[in-house]
């Protein structure tokens, strides 16, 4: 993905029906006046969006013929984003509202797979609105709810006035177990500061550098096979580039379907640059990001969010990439 200021940022709003997506959307549109937004809504979505540029879309998920079994994209987004780029008026941002039951992966993958989309727009962040009252039960019943949390760069934990403090703590623990790196903002009526929701640049490789997996939660409770969890590893020994490429490529090929998101900062032996990657399922964006800052600790850090992570021998695999 290119990094250029001419790319229009795209924010993806997910969350179950009734969580407050439309409330957040209208808050963005009224508070950020003077800015020009295009809003892409689903025909089954809630009504009453107050904006002069609303585009109706069907959530059309397409398989790509690229031999990658989990590579699905949102065909309607390719068409609509391409169409919006033909407009003469410059848009400040585009907001995509998904239906409650949508899987965010095809949306994110669209920005990796389609060159025109990647050239002209950039995925800014996935923002998930969660209902503090109902999220716990939704997580148990719908795997889409887990995916929406797993992919979220920001979770707006909404309707906190309807629950007590212990319930808030409980639901936040649930969220952290799925995705320890998401930012949780507690809100009523989605009243979040908009600069914590928009303009986050969360999918840029720069932002991966801010990932701080300083915890190592290896003592999971007994969990269901289908639960989404996360693991992270740190190595102070430099890694071997060739070994890492081989292990990681093979890992994504074999288990990409169950790895929802991955991120990492890598220190390779005999390389002066930091290597940064971030991926969605089998698709990955990776690049050297300049030399290590002088005072920082050189080490390698990787994070995986997904299902059945315990079956992938991740720790052994990562350890085996250490240089001799």
């Amino acid at each position: 993905m290119e990094n250029s200021s001419s790319q229009v940022p795209v924010t993806v709003l997910t969350g179950f029906l009734g969580a407050g997506k439309t409330t957040l959307l209208n808050r963005i549109l009224t508070e950020q006046h003077g800015r020009r937004y295009a809003v892409i809504v689903n025909e089954f979505g809630e009504q009453g969006i107050d904006n002069d540029l609303v585009v109706d879309a069907d959530e059309e998920v397409f398989e790509m013929n690229n031999g990658c079994i989990c590579c699905t994209v949102r065909g309607d987004l390719i068409r609509i984003l391409g169409g919006l780029m033909k407009r003469a008026d410059q848009l400040d941002a585009i907001i995509v509202e998904t239906t409650g039951l949508a899987d965010p992966a095809p949306v994110a993958q669209t920005f990796f797979v389609d060159q025109d989309v990647a050239d002209q727009t950039k995925l800014d962040a996935i923002v998930t609105v969660a209902d503090a009252v109902h999220l716990s039960s939704q997580l148990g019943e719908h795997h889409e709810a887990e995916e929406q949390i797993a992919f979220a760069d920001v979770v707006l934990l909404n309707k906190i006035d309807l629950v007590d403090q212990s319930q808030i703590t409980g639901v936040k623990d649930r969220i952290r177990k799925i995705n320890p790196y998401t930012k949780i903002i507690e809100t009523n009526r989605c009243a979040a500061p908009l600069d914590e929701v928009l303009g986050l640049n969360a999918f840029s490789l720069d932002r991966v550098l801010e990932v701080e997996p300083d915890f190592l939660d290896s003592d999971h409770d007994h969990e269901h096979d289908d639960d989404v969890t996360s693991v992270s590893f740190v190595s102070d020994t430099p890694l071997d580039l060739e070994k890492f490429e081989k292990w990681f490529g093979n890992l994504l090929q074999t288990h990409g379907q169950n790895i929802l998101r991955s991120k990492g900062i890598l220190d390779f032996k005999n390389e002066k640059d930091r290597y940064v990657f971030q991926g969605v399922h089998m698709l990955m964006d990776a690049s050297p990001m300049g030399p290590w800052p002088e005072k920082s600790i050189r080490n390698s850090r990787v994070v995986f969010i997904g299902r059945k992570l315990e079956t992938m021998n991740l720790k052994e695999g990562f350890e085996s990439c250490k240089s001799d």
């Binding site: 609303v54 397409f62 013929n65 994209v73 033909k86 407009r87 003469a88 389609d114 060159q115 025109d116």
Partner: protein, 339 residues
């Protein structure tokens, strides 16, 4: 790029350049003019002997444009399907509200458009449109040379509709993947689509035998037909890739001609020069070349790089002028021949 050091082409010397500020999204010939659709919803008619005439038609970008027998028809992001006469009269054929009108086409007095998953057909006799439904959002529509068949592409292939006893009967040409533009070969024997992947797909209509034309470094955004064979001329590579469609099997197992090789970037638009074995190719950096359909073609420079992707090349119906439009809204309108 330092513009001072660039040697202008004859076409740039003799022609006029217009900076419209709105991306060129399509163009079509009508009467003796070229009608151009823009990203700000306007249409401009370029005449060989007069100044262009501008008509404000849609709000939001024009997504598709075609010529009908009494004006151009356009589909826009404002959900409107319009007919615009060459003397600037605008008539609304239909309003789809917040749904975009993605594709339009016409044959004699029949006009059609697609919005979402449906194709809407207006014929002479009645005001109510005939609706043809499809399984996913429509990528492209095309009418054959006789106006008896309509090809509609979407996810999973092409639906071919035939008019039999005043009813549209459908037949499916399946191929996995998302299909964009669709067209008939000039003899009506083949269907061709561009795909989301960097390739084209084609079917022989008679027996539905299908084949892929692949190997492109980028998405194929444009194709046209040229020469007597004919050749299917395609964008998407650093040269114009021309597939031979003569013989029983067409391009199956044969190598394409690669012409217009002087562009350093991928071609984004191709157009044939009617009546000649020659092809115009426009590139991502704005360069336009004219090249011969031969093994060892000569290239002629039409336009130097402008820095913006060529989004249209059109020839006026009398072949006197060429129009080049780009994604930033620059138009070159130039006499085609030495005067």
């Amino acid at each position: 790029m330092n513009k001072e050091s660039v040697i202008k082409s004859r076409f740039e010397e003799n022609g006029k350049v217009f900076e419209t500020g709105a991306p060129v999204t399509g163009a079509v010939s009508i009467e003796n003019a070229v009608a151009v659709g823009f990203g700000d919803g306007s249409i401009r008619f370029f005449w060989p002997d007069n100044d262009p005439i501008e008509v404000q038609a849609h709000s939001g970008a024009i997504l598709s444009i075609a010529s009908s027998n009494d004006g151009v028809i356009t589909g826009g992001q404002d959900g409107r399907f319009l007919k615009i006469s060459t003397n600037a009269e605008v008539e609304e054929i239909y309003n789809f509200g917040t749904r975009w009108v993605d594709n339009v086409a016409a044959f004699e007095s029949m006009v059609l458009c697609s919005s979402g998953k449906n194709v809407y057909i207006w014929s002479d006799e009645n005001d109510k449109p005939k609706i043809l439904e499809h399984q996913s959002t429509i990528g492209g529509i095309a009418i054959d040379q006789n106006g008896r068949r309509i090809a509609v592409s979407c996810y999973g292939g092409v639906t071919l509709w035939r008019l039999e006893k005043n009813k549209w009967k459908s037949s499916k040409f399946a191929w996995k993947g998302s299909h964009g533009k669709v067209g008939f070969s000039p003899d009506g024997k083949y269907l061709v689509t561009t795909m989301q992947e960097n390739e084209l797909h084609a079917w022989r209509i008679r027996d539905k035998a299908s084949f892929a034309m692949s190997g492109y470094p980028s998405k194929v955004k444009s194709f046209t037909w040229a020469g007597d064979n004919p050749y299917l001329v395609t964008a998407g590579a650093k040269e114009a890739i021309c597939w031979p469609f003569d013989g029983k099997e067409g391009p199956k197992g044969r190598k394409p001609l690669c012409i217009a090789s002087g562009g350093q970037q991928n071609a984004t638009f191709v157009e044939s020069l009617p009546g000649e074995k020659a092809v115009f190719a426009g590139f991502r950096n704005g360069m336009v070349l004219l090249s011969e359909l031969s093994e060892h073609p000569n290239d002629v420079l039409i336009q130097n790089p402008t820095g913006s992707e060529v989004s249209n090349i059109s020839i006026s119906p009398d072949r006197s002028h060429i129009l080049v439009g780009d994604s930033k809204g620059q138009i070159l309108w130039s006499p085609l021949w030495e005067q």
